[in-house]
Every structure is written in structure tokens, then in C-alpha cells.
């Protein structure tokens, strides 16, 4: 499946194309089965795809960012869009790293993006509000939820996607920045405890929060 934040990125890319023209390329680094993700992206409006295919590439933000930057630097682009993070390992790093490697401006956690006169104005979501950032193009953006509403692909689009070009190549290998030494399950919370039903339980709750849990 497409990572949810990348779905916003793809949708934003397709909407920009619909409004301003141009072309949307999707880039995926992953194994053979990533082809399914690519076909879905092509059905959702991307024009072509690059598949950096590897079954053994390290699942590591620095390594991935370097391999992506290597590929992107040979491409011409105005806008690079990334999900702000993968919802599997939540690293929150690749977009910024690729941008730094390429030397392009990067605005993260974007909830609103407008283009005009070769410039972009992005709102990035921060604690308590948003920061308004203007940047020259080319530039990169990482997406926050609610940037846009992803569309669904029709059957016809799914079929048509198979005719769109997918350029398959091997990513250049990079050493990982992180090494997992141990994986453990998080300590379990104590099993839940129902203290009562309805309004009668309310005084009990307040007493427990104060005397037992000591949090109020």
C-alpha cells in the first residue's frame, strides 16, 4: 500500500499538475512487490514512474535518502513532494535529508501549498499554529495530513496505468545511519479496569484519580 502521507504528496502533485500543467513522476525504492504501489500511483494520476528496485536495500532513512538524492539529482523538477514520515518506522527524516543533499529548500509538515510566479507559499503545521514560509522553486515539501483529500482510482484508470512507463533500475547502495540492536515489545499496560457504570461511578473516579493514581 502507499504510505498515507505519500498519498497526500501524490494527490498534491496531481492537483498541481491539473492546475499549472507539467508532469508528475513517482519514485519508489523497494522490492519487486512495490510495482503494485507504483501502478496505483500511476492510476491516481502520475505520468511515469522510477522504481529503484532492490530486495535487500537497508530500511534506513539515511541510506534511502542518499539513494533517492542520487537519482533525483539527474532529473529536472520544480517541486519535490514527500510524505512527512512513514507510518511504519516513523523516522521523519527522508524528505529533509534528500533536500539537504540536493541543496534545495525544504518546508516540512505542510498543510497548505500555493504556487504563483515561480514561488511557493507553504503553511507548515507547528505547535499552536502554522508558520507561513515562502520559497523559490525548485523546492521540496513534506506533507501533513489534510493537505489535500486523496482521490480514488477508477477501474479504467487502473487499466490505463499499465500502459504508463516504469523505469526500473538498481539503487546505489549506501550504508545505514542506524543499526537496530534489539526489538522488544513495549511493556504492557496493566489490564484495564472498569470501576463502575454511569454517573454513580463518577465520585469513585475522582477519588481514585486523587488518592490512588495521584494525578489530580
Amino acid at each position: 500500500m502507499i504510505n498515507p502521507y505519500e498519498e497526500y504528496a501524490l494527490e498534491q502533485g496531481v492537483q498541481l499538475k491539473e492546475k499549472h500543467g507539467g508532469e508528475v513522476t513517482v519514485l519508489t525504492l523497494g522490492p519487486e512487490k512495490s510495482t503494485q504501489v507504483i501502478l496505483k500511483a500511476l492510476a491516481l494520476g502520475a505520468d511515469k514512474a522510477i522504481h529503484l528496485k532492490s530486495d535487500s536495500f537497508p530500511d534506513d532513512p539515511s541510506a534511502i535518502a542518499h539513494a533517492i538524492a542520487d537519482e533525483v539529482k539527474s532529473l529536472e523538477f520544480d517541486i519535490l513532494l514527500f510524505g512527512k514520515k512513514g507510518v511504519d518506522d516513523d523516522n521523519h527524516q527522508v524528505g529533509q535529508m534528500v533536500s539537504e543533499l540536493l541543496g534545495v529548500p525544504c518546508v516540512t509538515q505542510v498543510v497548505n501549498l500555493d504556487l504563483s510566479d515561480g514561488k511557493a507559499v507553504a503553511h507548515r503545521e507547528v505547535e499552536g499554529g502554522s508558520l507561513v514560509v515562502e520559497t523559490a522553486l525548485p523546492a521540496a515539501f513534506t506533507t501533513e495530513k489534510d493537505l489535500v483529500v486523496p482521490r480514488y482510482a477508477s477501474l479504467r484508470e487502473l487499466v490505463a496505468a499499465r500502459k504508463k512507463p516504469i523505469h526500473v533500475k538498481e539503487p546505489k547502495y549506501y550504508a545505514p545511519g542506524l543499526g537496530t540492536v534489539f526489538v522488544q515489545y513495549p511493556p504492557l499496560r496493566p489490564p484495564g479496569r472498569i470501576i463502575g457504570k454511569g454517573v454513580e461511578a463518577v465520585p469513585v473516579l475522582v477519588k481514585l484519580l486523587h488518592e490512588e493514581a495521584k494525578v489530580i
Partner: protein, 327 residues
């Protein structure tokens, strides 16, 4: 003496964030283990006089970049200052709060220092002198213990997980100014637009009252607002209620929203699906109010009340008013 621990003491609006104090406290702990100094880096405007506050949490030396252009986070400016601070003190470890600023900044500097970042850590350990960072992944289903290849080791710390502790006696840190010369940048940070409600961000709140699908509609959140007001808390929401348009995304707790770890989390009309659970399971105490006794949230809430939120919450408001003496 080993190389220092460098901590980015983040600020906003000329005051330090609590996450800065948490990071400085943790940095002190690590520095004590390795016998190193702790340096704190302050970037912002109007903070020079307040920089000494960081001594309370154990910083030995403070580097300050103070300039009107630094009042709001600018990636290119902050990156330059951070890299300059690193050059100055060659740290072994860099700690950064995992706030919107910290999460943006950490990977940027990592690229320039040719090292890795452990993001949103919930625990740090030193094993034989090596930093081992614990971080949740896969919707909180596992904890990864990772080491960082490269030096310095960079870790971002999830806010509200580490405890800010004042040291007794406090350090008496020296404060050194860093010169800031605006680098060329193609980005202009125009302004900060506050959310209309001006409420505290969920990640910084110690009491959160959250509402889910069971709230029935946006107008019904006023009882949660009232409870939050009585208890000094902040109102959050589940994905279902945000997707329904009842609450803004900035209120969302869960996998595609905020990850919170308050002292007390009261879930009202929230079933407790995995997407929600991952965002709040590290709360110290969880209370659930739900009319469905089979709701998954009851399997991990410390205190559950089976009942209608529209009866239980008003009763709770009354009881809390009595408790806090606000009748």
C-alpha cells in the same frame, strides 16, 4: 574528559519550551555518566537573559544565538547555527526535542555531519559507552533499540516522556554568544499564525480530554471544553471525529495525528482502535468513558466507566468543580 553532550534548548516566543528543560535534564544525566560537560544551544530572540535558566537543569555552558531574524524557526538559519555550535564543541551526543522544529532540523544536520538520527526516542541508555536509543515503531507495537552509526550521535526526544528535573545545587553556566550572519536562503519565513483557540498544544499538555465518534457532533464538544477548563486540560480528538470535520486536525491524537503522553488522558466516546491507541498509550493514567462495555479502550484504560458520555461527563464536571473548589 569525554566529548561534551550538546542539547538544543528550543524556545518559542522568547521562552523555553518544556521539552527544552526535559532535554537538558536528560543531557545532564548522560554527561554525568560519561564524565562530560553539557552544553546547551539557545537559538531565538530575547533569550540571552533567560539562558541562565538552563543551569537549573544542569547545563555547564550555554551558547546563545540571539537575533530578531531567529525569532521564528528558519531551517537554513538554525541549521547554520547548529553546525557552528557542533564545530565549536565537537560533541559526542546531540539531543534535540522531537518538536516540529526538532524533527525538521535533526536530519538536516545529520546529513552535513555524515551521521544518523534516532527519531522520537522514549529512552536513552549508555552501554559500554555507546548510546542506545529506544524508539517506538510500527504503530507502537514494537520498541526498537537502535545505535547510531557515525559521530556525533543525534537523538530527538519525544516531548513529555523525559522528566525535567531541577538540579540541586543548580549549575552556574557560562553564557557565550554565537555570532549570527544571515546566510543566503531561498526560503522566507513570513509569520506565525496562531490557531484561533490559542490553546496549549496537545503534546505539551499534562491533562487531555479527548472526544471521539461517540460525541455525536461538533456542538457536543462544549462539555469537554468545560471539563478541560475546570481541570486545566486541553481537548483532543480521535481520527473519526477529525475526519468527520468536527474538530481540526491539530486536535487529532493517534497515528496520523499527535503522539501525546500526558499525566492524565480522559477518552470520551472513543473506542480505542489501534490508530488511536498508538498516539496516547504512553499516557501515565488513562480514563475511558464509553457506553459500549466491549470497546477496546476498556482493555487498557486504568479506570473505565461504562456509561453515556452525555450523563457521565456533566457529572464529572460537577465533581471536578467540587474537587478543585470552583463551585
Amino acid at each position: 574528559m569525554s566529548a561534551p553532550v550538546l542539547v538544543f534548548a528550543e524556545s518559542f516566543g522568547s521562552r523555553f519550551r518544556r521539552a527544552a528543560f526535559e532535554a537538558v535534564t536528560e543531557g545532564r544525566r548522560l554527561a554525568d555518566i560519561t564524565g562530560a560537560e553539557e552544553r546547551a544551544l539557545v537559538i531565538g530572540q530575547g533569550l540571552k537573559e533567560k539562558a541562565g535558566e538552563l543551569g537549573k537543569y544542569g547545563a555547564d555552558r550555554i551558547l546563545v544565538a540571539d537575533d530578531p531574524a531567529l525569532a521564528l524557526f528558519h531551517p537554513d538559519y538554525y541549521r547554520q547555527i547548529m553546525l557552528e555550535a557542533v564545530k565549536k564543541c565537537s560533541p559526542s551526543i546531540i539531543l534535540i526535542p522531537a518538536t516540529s522544529t526538532g524533527k525538521d532540523l535533526a536530519p538536516r544536520i545529520a546529513v552535513h555531519l555524515n551521521t544518523g538520527v534516532a527519531s522520537e526516542c522514549t529512552q536513552l541508555d549508555l552501554q559500554n559507552g555507546e548510546l542506545i536509543a529506544t524508539r517506538p515503531a510500527y504503530a507502537g507495537k514494537v520498541l526498537l533499540k537502535v545505535k547510531i552509526n557515525g559521530t556525533p550521535k543525534i537523538a530527538s526526544l519525544r516531548p513529555n516522556v523525559f522528566t525535567a528535573k531541577e538540579k540541586s545545587p543548580p549549575s552556574n553556566p557560562s553564557v557565550e554568544s554565537l555570532t549570527f550572519e544571515k546566510p543566503d536562503s531561498r526560503m522566507v519565513v513570513k509569520e506565525f499564525v496562531a490557531h484561533v483557540s490559542k490553546k496549549m498544544d496537545l503534546t505539551e499538555a499534562s491533562i487531555i480530554i479527548s472526544g471521539g465518534r461517540g460525541m455525536g457532533g461538533p456542538e457536543n464538544y462544549k462539555i469537554l471544553d468545560e471539563l478541560a477548563e475546570v481541570m486545566g486540560g486541553v481537548v483532543g480528538a480521535s481520527r473519526a471525529s477529525v475526519d468527520a470535520g468536527w474538530r481540526p486536525h491539530s486536535d487529532q491524537v493517534g497515528q496520523t495525528g499527535r503522539t501525546v503522553s500526558p499525566t492524565l488522558y480522559i477518552a470520551c466516546g472513543i473506542s480505542g482502535a489501534i490508530q488511536h491507541r498508538v498516539g496516547m498509550v504512553d499516557s501515565k493514567v488513562i480514563v475511558a468513558i464509553n457506553k459500549d462495555p466491549e470497546a477496546p479502550i476498556f482493555s487498557f484504560a486504568d479506570y473505565g466507566i461504562v456509561g453515556d458520555v452525555f450523563e457521565v461527563v456533566p457529572a464529572l464536571i460537577q465533581e471536578m468543580r467540587k474537587f478543585y473548589g470552583k463551585t
